[in-house]
Symmetry: C2
Subunit: 159 residues, 2 copies
């Protein structure tokens, strides 16, 4: 079977940078610790400091409890518009490790400021004790730039 994976080039790197910079939300894929089954939720997502994807998550959510037990997860980033074939729209499947940043952590203020710059409406609830910032450290990624345009990226390609 012919591999559909292409060598990584500057155009693909630019696509990755755009997808991460433009992100407003993502699909988070995680493991349910009780069953071992894969689950998926929509989360808010912005590009935070050090270009690490950053979310704001309620402790009441299913995925918060799950990520605290099993932090290895994936993010699908890059949303199609209302028109055209959604499968030709570029998207990034990012494998990552989630780290929770609580109000008591020294880095919280800086990350909260960065998050609010991109999602100002979150100021209504970012101060609630049961909302935590979550930073995602990339472990690797698959970029799909449309049919037949697939690339595999390592952590060094995502710095």
């Amino acid at each position: 079977m012919k591999s559909p994976i292409r060598p990584l080039d500057d155009a693909a790197r630019d696509m990755v940078r755009s997808i991460l910079q433009d992100a407003r939300f993502a699909a988070l894929s995680f493991i349910d610790p009780d069953t071992g089954a894969p689950m998926v939720s929509r989360i808010a997502l912005v590009e935070g400091p050090d270009r690490l994807p950053l979310s704001l998550i309620s402790d009441l959510s299913h995925h918060s409890a799950a990520l605290q037990k099993i932090p290895v997860c994936s993010l699908l980033i890059g949303e199609p518009g209302p028109k055209g074939d959604p499968l030709t729209h570029p998207r990034l499947s990012l494998q990552a490790k989630a780290s929770f940043v609580r109000h008591t952590d020294v880095s919280h203020a800086r990350l909260a400021q960065a998050f609010l710059t991109k999602q100002p409406k979150a100021k209504l609830y970012i101060g609630f004790a049961d909302f935590a910032l979550v930073q995602f450290t990339p472990l690797g990624a698959h970029l799909n730039g449309g049919f037949g345009k697939a690339y595999i990226l390592g952590p060094e390609d995502l710095d």
Copy 2:
């Protein structure tokens, strides 16, 4: 901690029906059999016969090989538009089991017809030997109708 889950009502059931009927694509959460890590890909998705979600997947894709080994997966369905807060847009996280339907299977013609009715452009490649239809049997779901509007559904709620 107060549970955010509400009792299932007719308005929530209607929301689920709309999300499934309107689906054009979904985020598929699956397990990478080589690493055990959760992964996520965008796939085409329509409501097929018997109201089961139906996709068309290339054997060249990472998720095809994975689903053939570990068919338990999740689908995130219901996409926000370009405006407004994406986290207030209703979405369904559906836990499901994937079944592959090949060209040699007796049900292929009927399912292919149903798929093409909703995604006519797929006629260009639905006949390729390395494209299979994939039917998803629901095992349960979480409906998120926006902040504070969460519901849990069993398979009986998804008939």
